[in-house]
C-alpha cells in the first residue's frame, strides 16, 4: 500500500528572519504551502489567527530557525507547547548551536526535534529535505 503523500498539501510554518535563508527553505521544500513569519510574536499570532493572521491556515509542521539562547524564542516555544490547542503540532528547531544546554533545553520544552543547522547552503538544503522527508512522508502528523 503506497503511503499517503501529504507533502503536497502539508502546511508548513517557518520562523525565519533572514530572507536569504527563506529562499533556501523554499528551494528545499518545493512547496507553495510554506508560511513564513519573521519573529516570535508573529508565530503565536499566526497560530492563534490574530490580527493580520486571521485567515491563517493551521500548520501541520512548525520549523523554527531559533537559538535557545534567545529568551523570547524559549518563551514562544514554551507557549506553543503549553497551549492545549497548539501543543500537538510537531515543532522542529533548527539552530546553529551545538551546545548541550541548548539541545537539552529544546527537548525539555518539548520541541519534537532539534537539528544543528549546517553553515553550508548545499548541506542545509540536504538537511532540510531529509527533515521534511521524515516528517511529511514517514511520520504520521496529528490531525486537526
Amino acid at each position: 500500500m503506497p503511503t499517503e503523500a501529504p507533502s503536497a498539501t502539508a502546511e508548513i510554518l517557518l520562523l525565519e528572519q533572514d530572507p536569504e535563508e527563506v529562499a533556501v527553505f523554499r528551494q528545499a521544500t518545493d512547496t507553495s504551502r510554506l508560511n513564513v513569519v519573521k519573529d516570535c510574536a508573529n508565530i503565536l499570532r499566526f497560530l492563534r489567527r490574530q490580527g493580520q493572521h486571521s485567515g491563517a491556515p493551521r500548520p501541520d509542521l512548525i520549523l523554527l530557525d531559533l537559538e535557545l539562547s534567545d529568551p523570547d524564542g524559549c518563551e514562544m516555544l514554551s507557549d506553543i507547547k503549553k497551549d492545549p490547542g497548539l501543543k500537538r503540532i510537531p515543532v522542529v528547531v533548527l539552530a546553529k548551536s551545538e551546545s548541550y544546554e541548548h539541545i537539552f533545553q529544546a527537548y525539555d520544552l518539548h520541541a519534537n526535534a532539534y537539528i544543528c543547522k549546517p553553515e553550508d547552503r548545499e548541506e542545509l538544503i540536504k538537511v532540510l529535505r531529509a527533515t521534511l522527508h521524515f516528517w511529511l512522508a514517514l511520520a504520521r502528523l496529528p490531525r486537526h
Binding site: 548541550y100 525539555d108 531529509a130 527533515t131 521524515f134 514517514l138 504520521r140
Partner: protein, 205 residues
C-alpha cells in the same frame, strides 16, 4: 560525531515486530545497543532502575508500541513526558494503529513523533531506515551531546573506542529482556503477521 553506541529501548509485545525492528536496526550502520521489553510496567521499572533493572542504562531513544500488556503505551508515554528526569528522552511511537485519536493523543502527550508500522516487509525495513536516518544521524539528542566543561570530544572518543563503541563494523549488541523470544515463538508470530511469506522461509535469509 557519535561518541558511543546509541542506547535504544524497544518496547513491543509482538515477537514478530520486535524481531523485525531489531533486525532492521542491526542492518543500519550507526553503532547501537538494543534492549527489548514487552511489557509496559517493566518499562517503567527499567527507566526508574528499579529491582532487577538497577544497572539499566538510560536510553537515548525509545521506540514505543501502544498496545502493551499491563501498562498501556500511552500511559508509559505520559509517565515519561511528565517526569522532569525522563522527559528529554526521545520517544518515537511505532505502532500499527492509524487511528487519529491515537495519533493526536500521542502528540498531545509530547511524543517526539508517531510512525505507523507498515504492513509490507520491504516498507518495514525502509521505515526503520528512515527512523535511523533522521533520529540517529540528523537530529541532535541531548544525551548524546557532551555537556560543556566535560572532557573534550577527543577524550570521549578515546574512551568510547576502548569498548569498541566507535567501530561501525562492530555488530550492535542486543539485550533481550527475557529469553522468551524463542525462534519458534518468533516464527509463529511472523506467520501470523505475514502469512505465507514466513512459511517460505523468506524471513530467515
Amino acid at each position: 560525531m557519535k561518541r558511543r553506541p546509541i542506547e535504544i529501548l524497544l518496547v513491543d509485545d509482538s515477537p514478530a515486530d520486535a524481531w523485525l525492528i531489531r533486525r532492521a536496526l542491526e542492518e543500519g550502520d550507526t553503532p547501537k545497543r538494543i534492549t527489548v521489553i514487552a511489557d509496559g510496567e517493566r518499562v517503567v521499572d527499567y527507566l526508574h532502575r528499579r529491582g532487577e533493572f538497577a544497572n539499566a542504562p538510560r536510553p537515548d531513544l525509545i521506540l514505543l508500541d501502544l498496545n502493551l500488556p499491563r501498562v498501556a503505551g500511552l500511559d508509559v508515554l505520559q509517565r515519561i513526558k511528565t517526569d522532569p528526569a525522563l522527559r528529554t528522552i526521545t520517544v518515537i511511537v511505532l505502532t500499527t494503529s492509524e487511528a487519529s485519536i491515537d495519533i493526536n493523543r500521542a502528540y498531545d502527550l509530547s511524543a517526539n513523533c508517531y510512525v505507523v508500522k507498515p504492513l509490507e516487509l520491504d516498507d518495514f525495513t525502509a521505515t526503520i531506515r528512515g527512523i535511523e536516518n533522521f533520529w540517529m544521524r540528523l537530529a541532535s539528542l541531548p544525551s548524546l551531546t557532551p555537556p560543556a566543561g566535560s572532557e573534550s570530544s577527543g577524550e570521549r572518543n578515546k574512551g568510547a573506542s576502548a569498548d569498541g563503541g566507535l567501530n561501525p563494523k562492530r555488530k550492535p549488541s542486543v539485550h533481550l529482556e527475557r529469553t522468551r523470544l524463542t525462534r519458534r515463538r518468533i516464527r509463529a508470530s511472523l506467520r501470523g503477521r505475514f502469512g505465507v511469506h514466513a512459511r517460505r522461509g523468506e524471513l530467515w535469509r
